[in-house]
Structures are given as C-alpha cells and as structure tokens.
C-alpha cells in the first residue's frame, strides 16, 4: 500500500468514526432521558401540581400548562411581526434596507438567551413591577420573530415567480398577490417554520428565569408568575432531594416528547410541500 492509499484509508476510517461517535453520544443522552424519565412517570405527574414541601407525590401539571400558555402566547405575539418582516425582506430583495433587516434578524438569532432574559426583566418586569408569564412570552417573542422572519423570507422566495407574475398580470395589487398567491402557496412551509420556532422556544429556560419566575400552583393568568417545564427541570435538577431530581428527568422526558412532536409535524409539512413542488 502506498502512503497515499494508506492515508486515504485512515482518513476514511476517521470520518466514519466521528459519525459513529456522534450517534453514540446522542444515543447515550436520549437513552438516559428515556430510561430515567419513564421510570418515575405516573398519572399524578401529568395531572397534579407539585406536592407541598416535605410531602411526596405531586406532578408538573403547572409546568405543562405554563409551557403551553407561554409558548402559544409568544408565538401569537411574534408571528405577525416575524411574518411581515419576512414578507418585507422577500418583496424588497436587493434593496439596501431589506439587507439591513435580514442582517439584524440574523444577528438577533445569535443573541444569547440569557441576554433576552435580562432584557425581559429590565424592560418588562421592572416596568410592570411583577414577574409574569406575559413578560416571559414577550421575551420569547424576541427569539421567535427573527427565526420567523428568515423562514418566511426563505419560503416566499421558493414561490415560483411565474405565479406572482400571473397574478400581477390580472391586475392584482401587491398586497393581494402576497396574501392570496404567495402566502397561500407557501402556507405549509410557513406553518412548518412556525412549528420549528415554537419547538425551539418551548425548550428555552434562560428567558423565563427572571420573567415567568416559576410557580408551585397551576396558573392560568398570564399576568402572574407561572412555571414551565424547562424552568421546573432547572429548579428540580438543582434540588438536593432525589425525588425532585427524578421528577426533573420525567419533566425532561415530557419536554423532549413535546419538542419532537412539534418538529415531527414541521418535517411532515415540509415533506408535503416538497411533494407538491415535484
């Protein structure tokens, strides 16, 4: 074997090994979450709020409710801003301001979540003089908007220009072309993007620490402190009680399931879009 051929084989082995390693790491992590998570699951876990200090049992129903409410409200606030900004960028391609908006969206995507949390605190909690689920939703909306902007722009760029031209040629105005042709044609792609963004913010902890703050009770009022699954995991993981640590694993399991469900629906939708295109 010549040195070159030997190198070829060695490097081939190494790149394959790194792929194997990645899979191994993933399997280990998922396995731990699954095994430790399922072990302590029971009906109470899904339906009960945390038990009073010192008592056993209880669950994370408060956090499940919180995650749904906070995520949905964040998406509801962020969607119009993100979509319209995305439409703006897509419809003004080539203009300098559109480039600036795109760059800002990219930069905002890279803002660390803890910074969003601090901003949520100083900008909202201090002004409202109270921790609240709503300030958490608004903080998360700051993460939701830039991803939605980019996804909307990308999906709108996939709409065949022939369709838009056909609509313009019929005398439609820009707003009508975008709404009735582009958005409708790209609807599945945009929905898929929204679900992916929701999956992302549903798992965020740092923006909630100083906004939603957490609560031991099942809370439906967005103006009051509220718990959420990531928050509960963080608090329980740091607790000295094994029973609570076990609940952290179960909560992690539930959170991963929720995120996988959102991602799966998103992927399914994308697959449908691609099939329509083909």
């Amino acid at each position: 074997m010549t040195p070159r051929k030997l190198k070829n084989s060695v490097m081939g082995f190494l790149v394959a090994a790194s792929a194997v390693l990645l899979i191994a790491v993933l399997v280990v992590i998922v396995w731990h979450i699954f095994i430790s998570g399922v072990k302590y699951l029971n009906w109470n876990f899904f339906t009960k709020a945390p038990a009073p200090m010192g008592e056993s049992g209880g669950g994370v129903f408060n956090a499940i409710v919180g995650t749904f409410l906070i995520t949905l409200v964040a998406a509801a606030i962020g969607t119009p801003f993100g979509m319209f900004a995305g439409i703006y960028v897509a419809e003004h391609r080539g203009r300098r301001f559109a480039d600036v908006v795109r760059l800002c969206a990219d930069a905002l995507q890279g803002v660390p979540s803890i910074v969003i949390g601090i901003f949520g605190y100083t900008f909202l909690v201090v002004r409202f003089r109270s921790y609240s689920a709503l300030s958490a939703s608004i903080a998360l909306a700051f993460m939701f908007v830039p991803t939605t902007t980019r996804v909307t722009e990308e999906v709108l760029n996939l709409v065949p220009s022939g369709l838009k031209e056909a609509a313009y040629a019929l005398g439609a105005r820009q707003s009508s072309v975008v709404w009735n042709v582009s958005i409708k044609t790209a609807a599945a792609g945009i929905t898929s993007g929204l679900l992916t963004s929701m999956a992302r913010i549903a798992g965020e902890t740092a923006p909630l620490l100083f906004t939603a703050f957490g609560s031991r009770y099942v809370e439906w009022n967005m103006l009051r402190p509220m718990s959420a699954l990531p928050l509960q995991i963080f608090i329980y993981a740091g607790s000295p009680y094994p029973a609570l640590q076990q609940q952290a694993w179960s909560a992690a399991f539930v959170l991963v399931l929720l995120i996988l469900l959102l991602q799966y629906s998103a992927k399914h939708l994308i697959a449908r879009v691609l099939r329509v295109k083909a």
């Binding site: 394959a16 790491v25 900004a85 559109a98 890279g110 201090v126 798992g203 620490l209």
Partner: protein, 309 residues
C-alpha cells in the same frame, strides 16, 4: 374604458396601504430591537459603571459581599469554555460533515442528518440535566485520578465535585457539534461534483480530492460556520450554568469551578439585591450582547463571501 374607481378598487387600495405599513413597521421594529436592547441594557447597568467605570472589564475581583465587581473572571471563563469547546468539537464536526457529504450514501446520510437535527434541537436545560447527573460524575472520576497521577492535592480537591471548566467545555463541545457539523455540511454540498470528479479522474485518491479540492473550496464558509458556532458556545447559558460550579474566583486550572458571563447572570441574578450587584450583572449581559452581535455579523459576512466565491 377607463372607469371610475369602484368600491372594490377602493377597498383594495386600503388593503394595500395597511399591508405596506405593516411590512415597513415590522421591518423597522426588527432593526429597532437591536438598538432597544443596547439602550435598555446600557441604562439598566449604569450603577455598575458609576461604581467601577471602564476598569470593570479587566478587574479580576468578583465579590458580592464587599460589593467589588470586575468582569475578568467571567470573560476568561467565557473565552476558555468557548474556544475549548470549539477546539474539541471542530475535528469531529469536520469529520461528520465530510462523512455525510462524501462517504455515506443517501440511505445512511438521511437518518444521520435527522439525528443531528434532533441533537441540535434538544433544549439547553436538558443537556444541563444530563451533564450534571451523567457527565459530571465521570469528569470527577477523571479529575481525581489525574490529580493523584500528578500528585497534586489541589487538583484532587477541586476534582471531587466534577463541576468546573472542564465539564463545561466537554458539554459545550457536544452541544455545538450538531450545529457546526450541519453548517459545514451545507457548504460541502455546494462544491461542484465536477471538481471532485476531475481530481479523481487524474488518479487522486478520495482523500486527496477532499483535501486538495473540496476543503480549499469551502475554506471561507467553514471559517464562517466555526465563528457562528463559537458565538453559540460563548452565549450558551443553561447547560453551562448547571455544570460550571458558579465559581467567583479567577480559575487557575481547568478543574476549577468558574463562571461564564451567561452562567454568572443565571446563577446570581435572583440573589442580587443591591443596585451595584444587579447593575454589574446587567453589565455582563451588555458585554455578552455586544460580543454576540459582533460575532454573528462577522460570521454572516464571511459566510456570504464564501457563498459568492
């Protein structure tokens, strides 16, 4: 032929105006957000600047009891964990990307790509949970063993908990791996196959083609991808917070508990009561924000150039 505007025309015109206004508003709001963040964090951290001024950046004392604050330990912690994680994960990220682009067939590549997406989509707090209960005990064993090996009681002592810089670096390396791997893969996939086939036709081995044709071609975008990953690592909060040990002192070894800018805030903000303490933590957030924005813009510019080339 030219008719008076009808009711439907007028309605369409109103739609058009609302639509345009909404687009411009959202676009302006997005740009304003960055300014708003800067302003808000700057104003909210003024108590810290009043007390320490610019030396806050390089003072190495962080003492909540005496209320003396300097950001250097956190800046060091952030840079050490960020670059450490990048150093460890980059060879694997490159390996995985090359494997998927050049070695695996579609049937194998698709599920692996799916797994990478899955790993990248796991929340930070879950990595933290796993890190705290699985990774940290392993790191602790290693640190104690290593401390005994070199005969250092100080290392053994700091190693018994397992939390600290090393655990944070390892966990971060795992977390940014799917991110950098998929970014590098994206750029590898746009390398024209003719180029590679050209090299192969000249008698080059597969690796020759990768090393001499493919990798030079994606040099710029790979650097962009790595800078983006670094930005991720520097700002990563929850997982690091859970395994780095909330150390206030300047770390001297990799086994020491420490803090990053992000983890210091997450660990201490709710305990901070005095305006100077709160202001100093917000100042850390401001530093982190500025670093993140700069890194992201630089990375995007590099990536865009890489694509154009």
């Amino acid at each position: 032929m030219v008719t008076q505007p009808s009711r439907s025309d007028r309605r369409e015109l109103v739609h058009e105006r609302i639509f345009t206004a909404a687009g411009v508003t959202a676009a302006v709001a997005l740009v304003t957000t960055i300014v708003l963040f800067l302003l808000e964090l700057f104003i909210a951290s003024r108590a810290s600047r009043a007390a320490f001024g610019l030396p806050f950046l390089w003072r190495s004392e962080w003492n909540p009891v005496t209320e003396k604050f300097g950001a250097l330990p956190m800046i060091v912690g952030t840079l050490v964990t960020g670059f450490g994680a990048l150093l460890i994960s980059t060879p694997f990220a490159l390996g995985i990307a090359i494997f998927l682009a050049d070695y695996a067939d579609r049937k194998l590549a698709e599920p692996i790509k799916y797994l990478i997406g899955l790993l990248g989509g796991l929340p930070s707090v879950i990595f933290g949970l796993w890190g705290l209960f699985v990774l940290v005990p392993i790191v602790s064993k290693f640190e104690v063993w290593f401390g005994k090996l070199v005969g250092s009681e100080a290392l053994v002592a700091s190693g018994t908990t397992g939390v600290g810089l090393l655990a944070a670096i390892l966990l971060l390396a795992i977390m940014i791996l799917p991110f950098s791997a998929s970014l590098i893969l994206e750029s590898l996939l746009v390398v024209p196959t003719e180029l590679k086939e050209g090299a192969l036709a000249l008698g080059a081995t597969k690796w020759d083609a990768i090393q001499n044709v493919e990798l030079p071609y994606v040099q710029k975008s790979t650097v962009g991808a790595l800078v983006l990953s670094l930005g991720r690592a520097l700002g990563e909060t929850m997982a690091v917070t859970m395994v780095i040990g909330n150390g206030m002192k300047m770390p001297t070894t990799l086994f020491d508990p420490a803090n990053t800018l992000a983890s210091a805030i997450a660990n201490q903000f709710l305990e901070a009561t005095s305006p100077v303490y709160v202001g100093s933590l917000i100042q850390l957030a401001l530093i982190l924000f500025v670093i993140a924005i700069i890194i992201n813009i630089v990375a995007r510019v590099i990536l865009r150039r890489g694509v154009q080339q």
